[in-house]
């Protein structure tokens, strides 16, 4: 029976459609229109995230005996808006002897009921940036869908940050072709490290040299918290431990040396579908197709292995035996017979440990079922 594995997209040229949203607790709006073209610095959505709620006893502050005595005329401003400190919300009476309810600090006038004023204080501004060139496919109250084309590498882990810059390789920073992002404060570079991160020294180097992001194949899991504290994105393409780059990933990065690159280092959550991504955008193009992710493993398909001892290796499926195969540790599992692309070695790998890499529908070498 067909086996449908996970798909981790590693493609040099594909159509990329991404959704942008405000944080769940933010109140805000869309800043762009459908069909408009955006640049990396374009703000797509903007809003505020309120912090604490405070209650003000309007009955007491207005010098009244009960909430019934508060009239509509006393209300000075509309609800739902943000007001600076000292703005009168309700006033009872006139002149110097008037009693007032005023905002004690910058706050959103959230609710007024039963003689109580509820303020959401210190609303913090939030903005969601495009981080890449593209076109707005759709824009609604709280979400924007952006489309572009280019290379896409889905990765294993990210530290929750996002940025963009010129793709540079750690060994040859000096010789890098620059894209104009750099200045005295900023290298303008997204740095591809040659091997696994095994020490926090690389983070210090990133800060010192003002890198805009880090791409590495893997990292000691013990360094995770330090990576999360960095202000720049860190993306691991393979996972944790000492794992080298998958050949297909490294080749794709190398072929895009010096190009504008967006790092969306989403930290994978157990319950979220978003994955960390390296996007090297070339702009929207009608020729490009989105990768198909709903494919079974078939003979002839290109797969990538996701567990040791062949972790990260790319192979072609030769055969899908009907009977389970016994692997090194004795487990009998459904497996695929594959030929690795690096040394043409032939081996069996458990189907549970393979992933497809998202070949687009119109790709010439798409395997035939």
């Amino acid at each position: 029976m067909p086996y449908y594995p996970e798909t981790t997209v590693v493609l040099g040229s594909t159509r990329i459609i991404r959704e942008y949203k405000l944080p769940p607790n933010a109140i805000g709006h869309v800043e762009v229109n459908q069909g408009s073209t955006v640049t990396p610095d374009t703000v797509l959505l903007a809003g505020t995230v309120p912090s604490e709620v405070i209650f003000l006893d309007a009955v007491k502050l207005l010098g009244l005996r009960s909430a019934d005595q508060i009239t509509e005329e006393m209300l000075q401003v509309p609800l739902g808006e943000v007001y600076e400190a000292g703005v009168p919300l309700l006033i009872n009476g006139k002149g110097r002897r008037a009693k007032k309810v005023v905002t004690p600090k910058r706050a959103r006038f959230a609710l007024f009921e039963a003689g109580r004023v509820l303020l959401q204080t210190d609303p913090q501004p939030v903005a969601v940036y495009a981080l890449m060139e593209g076109r707005v496919n759709s824009a609604s109250d709280t979400r924007v869908v952006l489309e572009t084309g280019g290379a896409l590498i889905q990765a294993a882990w990210g530290n929750g940050k996002a940025s963009y810059g010129a793709l540079a390789f750690a060994q040859e920073q000096g010789a890098l072709e620059r894209l104009g992002f750099e200045d005295e404060e900023d290298s303008g570079q997204v740095m591809v490290l040659p091997e696994s991160i095994q020490s926090a020294a690389v983070f210090a180097e990133a800060t010192e040299k003002r890198w805009r992001g880090i791409i590495a194949p893997s990292m000691r899991s013990a360094l995770r918290e330090q990576a999360r504290r960095l202000s720049i994105p860190v993306i691991l393409t393979e996972g944790f431990g000492i794992l080298p780059y998958s050949e297909i990933v490294f080749n794709l990065l190398e072929s895009n040396r010096g190009r504008f690159t967006t790092l969306d280092a989403v930290e994978p959550s157990v319950w979220r579908s978003e994955r960390p991504e390296i996007i090297i955008p070339t702009g929207p193009s009608s020729r490009l197709r989105t990768p198909e992710v709903n494919l079974p493993v078939v003979a002839g398909a290109t797969i990538r292995v996701t567990r040791l001892p062949h972790m990260g290796r790319v192979a072609k499926v030769l055969n899908l035996p009907e009977s389970p195969i016994t692997v090194e540790n004795g487990l009998r599992v459904a497996a695929a017979q594959v030929q690795f692309s690096d040394n043409l070695e032939i081996a069996f790998v458990p189907l549970a440990n393979v992933e497809l890499i998202g070949r687009p529908l119109d790709a010439p070498s798409r395997p035939q079922a």
């Binding site: 607790n25 604490e52 609710l111 992710v293 567990r307 004795g330």
Partner: protein, 604 residues
């Protein structure tokens, strides 16, 4: 978000409210009469796999006739859970020659009465429902609320009660910060004082009004006299469910209505948050019920199935949760540890049990980051399986420690059983989960259960490799007779019978004579501190006569004779003693652990 109220009713209108005596104690004599339903198709949507099963009449009795599984398709972009179900159904269809999907491109689910079958679905996958519990007294209504919540997949993030020292302002902020998916309001006995409960309802309403999006679900199960007030106050601001009071009087708790409502609510919540879930929910006769509710139903049935009530223990080691369902001294106790799991929750699990505790089950010294790197990669790719022996050992170590940790939590709620006392007799002990059901050899699954639970006496170990517990536990609401037949015709796999004497073993721990039904016999002598397996093939029975060595007892005796049923792993003599002591010295462990693995796979 539109407000609504729901009452606990099955979609088909056939649903019976759960009760502690849903099933007859014994399969009735009339069991050869076909139950009302025809073919039964079940689905259990887990975090990693979606399993489907087909039950049909064979020689007048309902039996499991086919099963299949596919990866659950909830996470990746562009997928929905119904896609994984379709894939599994395609495979089931190929095995059975039946069509469960329409032939057109739409691939509609051909499930339900109109297609000549009964379809029920359960789920355990997905993010636990973030829940705030609101009640009057911590040790009265809140305690009842907590016990009701044990029947589903929730993460309790805060609790508000009358003794809460926080101001209303602080309580509202706490609710907003917690961003709950569900607020369960309990409290107040029926016809009791209203004012304190009203105040709590007002606090919940204020918080709900201030939530920018994703209005929470509120389930009210408090003072029945306030149901109308609750509707007036909350209906416009939340998704509202109202059910019977969980604590109608100080002396009485009523769990069935609230547990059923939580089960229905779980399906509705998943349908709102997980793409494709609604498709499955619409096809299922009862919506999608939480698997744990089903486990509870089956454990309760098994505990009452014999001539006398017995203790039953079920352990489900999943990717994102470990669930213990125990019927102890007539009381059902359900523990769900959402921080423990072998895949999605592997990191939090390793942190919870400690790397040192995991390392003591390994026959090698792990490198400083090896275990944590392993669990991090497992969390990133939970569906993958270990290929290297070293990694498999880590996986088995995790399984043992997760069961131990979940059992410790569970035992806190076992009334009348001291936490540090040995595990009371359980008949049977049931293992659920891939790590137990699909190891190299059934003996390994038995070994993991023995190591983690350390039962004493004669332990009947069973396995649920086909998802029978989840599917039959939900079908019990519709067709109890079908469930009886499936369970009594081998729905659960007899894994092993373990003989675990108590005491300090030395020299020869026991001598046993096994007499098979065909008259053949075997005599074995088992030294202390070892494992030895004697074959009793599945479907057969054998009589076992035991003579225990000095200082050892089995069920309080030195000599005894009893009958055992055949099983996949066989009759396991475990003379390693209790509590099981693992050598600290690595070289001793490196010698001992491989011997244990080998012993349970070598059947005499």
């Amino acid at each position: 978000m539109s407000a609504r109220t729901k009452t606990p009713q099955a979609k088909s209108g056939r649903q019976k409210p759960p009760s502690s005596a849903r099933l007859p104690r014994r399969a009735p004599e009339s069991q050869l009469i076909a139950p009302a339903v025809g073919r039964v198709v079940t689905a259990d949507i887990g975090s990693v796999h979606t399993r489907v099963a087909l039950y049909d009449l064979v020689e007048g009795q309902f039996r499991l006739v086919g099963r299949a599984q596919a990866l659950t398709t909830a996470a990746p972009r562009g997928y929905d859970v119904s896609e994984g179900l379709r894939r599994a159904l395609t495979e089931l269809g190929a095995f059975s020659g039946l069509n469960f999907l329409s032939a057109d491109q739409e691939q509609r689910l051909l499930l339900g009465e109109e297609y000549g079958n009964t379809f029920v679905a359960t789920a355990s996958g997905g993010k636990p429902i973030r829940t705030i519990l609101v009640g009057l007294m911590p040790n009265v209504s809140l305690e009842s609320g907590k016990r009701a919540l044990e029947s589903t997949y929730v993460e309790l993030v805060d609790a508000l009660d009358l003794l809460d020292v926080r101001t209303i302002e602080q309580q509202v902020n706490a609710i907003l910060r917690a961003a709950p998916d569900l607020i369960l309001i309990v409290g107040g006995v029926d016809s009791g004082a209203n004012a304190p409960v009203r105040a709590l309802i007002d606090t919940v309403r204020l918080a709900a009004q201030l939530m920018p999006s994703n209005k929470p679900i509120v389930l009210y199960a408090g003072n029945a006299a306030l149901a109308t007030y609750v509707r007036e106050q909350l209906e416009d601001h939340v998704v509202l469910y109202v059910t019977e009071n969980v604590r109608p009087s100080l002396e009485r708790e009523s769990f069935d209505p609230i547990r059923l409502e939580l089960a229905l609510l779980y399906g509705d919540y998943r349908a709102r948050t997980t793409p494709g879930f609604k498709t499955v929910q619409d096809a299922s006769a009862l919506g999608v019920l939480p698997s744990v509710e089903s486990y509870g139903n089956i454990v309760r049935y098994l505990a009452n199935a014999g001539n006398r009530q017995q203790n039953v223990l079920m352990v489900d080691v999943g990717s994102s949760t470990v669930t213990i369902c125990a019927m102890v001294r007539g009381a059902l106790n359900v523990t769900i540890r959402s921080d423990l799991g072998l895949g999605h929750s592997a990191v939090s699990a390793a942190e919870a049990v400690g790397v040192r505790n995991l390392a003591r089950w390994l026959s090698f010294e792990p490198t400083p980051d090896e275990i944590m790197d392993y669990v991090w990669n497992k969390t990133l790719r939970p569906a993958t399986i270990p290929e290297l022996t070293r990694e498999l050992e880590i996986e088995y170590a995790l399984a043992r420690e997760l069961i131990r940790a979940a059992l410790r939590t569970s035992r806190q709620g076992w009334a009348g059983v001291p936490i540090n006392a040995p595990l009371p007799p359980m008949q049977p002990i049931i293992g659920v989960g891939s790590v137990l059901a699909q190891p190299i050899n059934p003996g390994i699954g038995a070994l993991l259960l023995l190591d983690a639970l350390q039962p004493q006496g004669i332990a009947d170990l069973r396995l649920d490799p086909y998802g029978v517990m989840a599917s039959m536990g939900s079908l019990i609401h519709l067709e109890p007779l079908t469930v009886v037949q499936v369970l009594e015709t081998g729905g659960l796999l007899n894994l092993a019978t373990a003989i675990c004497p108590v005491g300090k073993p030395s020299g020869t721990a026991l001598e046993a004579k096994v007499v098979y039904a065909d008259g053949r016999s075997r005599e074995v002598r088992v030294p202390a501190h070892t494992l030895r397996v004697v074959s009793v093939p599945a479907g057969q029975k054998a009589q076992v006569s035991l003579k225990l060595g000095r200082g050892l007892r089995l069920n309080g005796k030195r000599r005894l004779t009893f009958e055992v049923e055949g099983s996949a792993a066989g009759l396991i003599f475990d003379t390693r003693g209790r509590p099981l002591v693992l050598p600290r010295d690595l070289s001793r462990r490196a010698e001992l652990l491989p011997k244990w693995y080998a012993a349970v796979q070598e059947i005499d």
